[in-house]
Structures are given as structure tokens and as C-alpha cells.
Symmetry: C2
Subunit: 293 residues, 2 copies
């Protein structure tokens, strides 16, 4: 089917004719090996759904160490086996865990403790060119996360695919058992109000393409079937040969700076007017599978 | 199932305990009748999919009059009957039209003419509090659209649910037959580069929950089934009793200003830290069904 479909030039497609400048995706793909950093096996959490689709989450241990530790305990005790995605609200979140709210949590896991909504210091090592609508400073942390900052504190931001810990009203901070992923326009108002604990680095569409819940706030009604979760395992709990391996482009690398600039300044032939800037959540951190070794 | 699910307080749910301030949704719902303006029947285009789901689009005739006129001709000639949604790219767009690219366009419809990517004047009547990452000015037009401006020109913005005209490289501006809707984080880099012609005011989830295309750029591969479009009709072409009727909250109304302020300043009990601002695409213009009469 050799048809040229409209919009086909939006992304990293090879364009014949006068050689265009490399696209953001091409710039990232061409980064030297030294610009990539491996994600640790204990920071990779793999949810497998009823349909064999996998949702792979990178954990943000540097921002929410306590919640991440709880999540590792939950995975280790296979607590999520048999859980489900029970809420899918359009342009907002997909949420999963124990819909019955009756399943006992394993030892060492409970709602409570200090909130992990922000941390002292940790301003981004690479900043966006244009002002952010939500914070004084926005950019990327040295370990590859989208962050905002007021100069004193910094925090993860609710970009597409980010994973957070559902909670009730304060003092609840969530146990880490009930999670959500952003599947719509970045709900940045949640920043500093909920603990973000990671991001989906593969398989987000297994969540975003689920039927929306017809109940209030997108909760599935009784006549809808929640998406069952078969298992949740840390990569570090798998045999080495079975572990999925990922790496991210380091924000401290020259290539990342070029990638950001290209995202902020889209170029011809498709783009004729460039905004000269972008918002933080328009610039996904490049993450890819890496070959074994 | 009287369980209190986490995150249940995020939106417009009645919260017991100390009476909280009204949520943004509650403020909009409480607007007086005079704050709402009816959408004209000829500006409502109804796509009906294979599964009976409807995707209802409000046309932006004040911004893209030529493209909108073409779309009315396409609907009048039933050109979209038998078309399909043939591309669904996660966190980006769902695109529909004639996947074969061979169906002749009706008289009066063709790619070409001046681009309708921006217009002179038309700065927003209500502005966002915080800076926009893409433009000097961002806010809402008097007729209810999200717009950005450089002080001289203004243009519609690629917020969630906005509908645009797919095109090839310039001088193509698109015919209006191939359309897309935003189903992810606002791809604002497309602003001023593509003609936006409207927004989905009902049924966006019929597009956003479709399976993602496994081909490049989210195009459906041969082993995937495009979502067939049964019909596309203007509301004005239906019998009066069958016409869906909608109204939007006028950005010039005091209620809209309060709604915007509430969106920019989320409040307790759920929110404990407010950003004091938001980006344009975080603030959807309230649109609702209206009762006949």
C-alpha cells in the first residue's frame, strides 16, 4: 500500500527532496552510546494484563524512595496478581489495584508516613527555553526525569505516562498499591499534591486504549469488565535472560540538549512556523530497549 | 458498592465534611442561563461509527471559514459515509477519512487555497494568568475557543479534542476530507502549521479508546481493522426533533472568569498546593447538551 498519507511527515520519516534537518527522534537515535544510561533492573516493574499486553514502569526511586520500596514489596509478594484496572477516565488517568479495597496489604506496606511530593534541591540540569505555566523552573533532572522547581524544592511533573500513587484526603499519602498513569493532557495541577513514582516506558497504549469507565470519574460500572492484571514483577526478580532492559538519554548529554532544541524549534519542510519553545510535557525523555550485554 | 475509591475527590464530587469551595465543574454548572450561548446547528457535525458511537464536532467557522464550508459540502454529499478511522497514534491523534486516497472529492472541495492557520487580530478576551510556553498571549476568544496570539495574529490551539485538517507538505493545506482529533497531550507545535477546524464536544472517547495502529505513525496495518464511519451529518440536515443541541459557557461571562480562576487555583480538601496558574489546554471550555426550546 504505497500511499502517501497526510500528516505522514510529522515525525521521523525519511523525507526525500532537499535533505531536511534531522528530526528530534533522529537526533536521539543518533546519540552515542555514552549518552545513554541503563535503567537498573530493580527500577523496572512489569505489569502483565489479561490480554498478554505488558505495561512496563520505570520506578523513580530518587524522588519517592519510600513509595518505591513499598511497590517492590507489593511486587515481591505478588500482591497485584489478580488485581485490575478499574478506572479509565478519558483525558486523565487509568487507575489500577484492588477494586474491592479489601485485599490485605503485605507486611511493610501501608498508607502513611511523610508525603513524597517534592524534595529539597534537585533543580533541573537542563531547562526549558520558555516559561512554564505551572512553576518558576521546568526541565530535566540529571537522572532523566521531567521536573519543576521553585528554586528551593523540586518535584516530578504529571506528564503523559507518568505513574502516581492514588490517595484519599490528607493525611493519606497512598500505600502504593493503588496506582494511576496519566493518559491525557498533562494534569499538572496534581504536581506536589500526589506522589509520582515512575513512568510507563513501554505499553502505555495497553492502558490508554481501554474502554472508558461509564461511572463517575471514569470508574468502571458493574456492567463493565475491569482489565485484569495477571502479574506484576520486578525485572530483577526475573531470570537475567528474561529481563527487559532499557536505557534513557541523559539530560546532561550534548545530544539531549540538541534533542530539546529540535523539539522546541520544529523545522521545515513540514513545519513552517516554529514556536521557539515548548512546554515540559511536550518533550518526552527518550527511553528505548537496549541490547543485552 | 459503597466503597470510597482513591482519587475520588479529584473532580466535582459532593464532599461531605466542612463544605469545600465549589469545584471548577460546579462553578460552570451553576452558571446562569445568560452565560451560555447555543451552538448553531450548521456548526455541529455528527460522525457515527460502526459501533453506533457518535463523535460530535463543533465547527470553528470563525477561524477556518473555507475549510468549514468544504466540510459542510462533504457532509452534504455524504462523502464520509463508508470512510474510516485509519490512524490512531498514541498520545497524539486519531485520523479519519478515505484510507484509499482514491475517492473523488465532491464539487467545490479540493486541497488548495490560502492557509487558514491564523487570523489577523482576535486576541483572547480572557487571558491565562501565567505565561504560555508557546506564545506571547493565550486565552479564550469571545466565541468560546482556546486561542493564542502574538499580539497581531491569533490562532486556535491544539488542545485535547481539537480537530484539524490533515495535509501534505506545503503548498498543501488539506481539503478538509482527511481530519484528525487530538487524543493526547496538546501537540502545540502544530499550532499555526495546520488548519484547526473545530473540536469534539461529545464522544471523543470513541476515538481515544480505539486500538493504536501498529504501523509507522500509528497507521493501521493490514491486519488491523479500521473503524468504519457509517455517516457524517450536519445537525442542520436532521429533522429539528433529532438535532443534538449544545451550548458553551461564554468566556465573556463572569462565571467563565470564576471557572478559570478555580482551574488555576485548585483548593483543599484534596489539593494542598496550588500552582496559581495553568496552561491553556488544561482549561477546557465548558460545553454541554442543552434542553430543547
Amino acid at each position: 500500500m504505497p500511499i502517501l498519507l497526510p500528516l505522514a511527515f510529522l515525525f521521523d520519516q525519511a523525507v526525500p527532496a532537499a535533505k531536511p534537518p534531522p528530526s528530534p527522534a533522529e537526533i536521539a537515535a543518533g546519540a552515542p552510546a555514552a549518552a545513554w544510561r541503563a535503567i537498573a533492573d530493580e527500577d523496572i516493574l512489569i505489569f502483565t494484563l489479561f490480554n498478554r499486553r505488558q505495561v512496563i514502569v520505570q520506578l523513580a526511586a530518587s524522588f519517592a524512595p519510600r513509595h518505591v520500596e513499598r511497590m517492590r514489596l507489593l511486587a515481591g509478594s505478588r500482591w497485584w496478581n489478580g488485581a485490575s484496572v478499574y478506572r479509565v477516565q478519558d483525558n486523565y488517568v487509568a487507575q489500577w489495584g484492588d477494586a474491592s479495597e479489601k485485599k490485605p496489604l503485605p507486611a511493610g506496606v501501608a498508607d502513611g508516613g511523610a508525603a513524597e511530593y517534592e524534595r529539597i534541591g534537585g533543580a533541573p540540569v537542563l531547562r526549558m527555553t520558555r516559561p512554564d505555566s505551572f512553576a518558576a523552573i521546568a526541565g530535566f533532572s540529571d537522572d532523566g526525569w521531567p521536573v519543576a522547581s521553585d528554586g528551593k524544592y523540586s518535584w516530578l511533573t504529571h506528564c503523559y505516562g507518568m505513574v502516581g500513587v492514588a490517595r484519599d484526603l490528607a493525611p493519606s499519602v497512598g500505600s502504593g498499591a493503588e496506582l494511576y498513569a496519566v493518559i491525557g493532557h498533562a494534569p499538572r495541577a496534581l504536581d506536589r499534591n500526589i506522589a509520582l513514582v515512575g513512568r510507563v516506558i513501554e505499553g502505555i497504549d495497553a492502558l490508554s486504549s481501554l474502554p472508558r469507565g461509564t461511572g463517575k470519574l471514569g470508574f468502571y460500572e458493574k456492567d463493565q469488565v475491569p482489565a485484569a492484571i495477571v502479574s506484576a514483577r520486578l525485572a530483577s526478580a526475573l531470570l537475567p535472560a528474561e529481563r527487559p532492559r532499557f536505557e534513557y538519554l541523559m539530560p546532561t548529554s550534548p545530544t539531549f540538549a540538541r534533542y530539546l532544541k529540535a523539539r522546541e524549534n520544529r523545522e521545515p519542510p513540514f513545519f513552517t512556523v516554529s514556536a521557539g519553545g515548548a512546554d515540559l510535557c511536550s518533550v518526552a525523555v527518550p527511553v528505548r530497549r537496549r541490547s543485552a550485554g
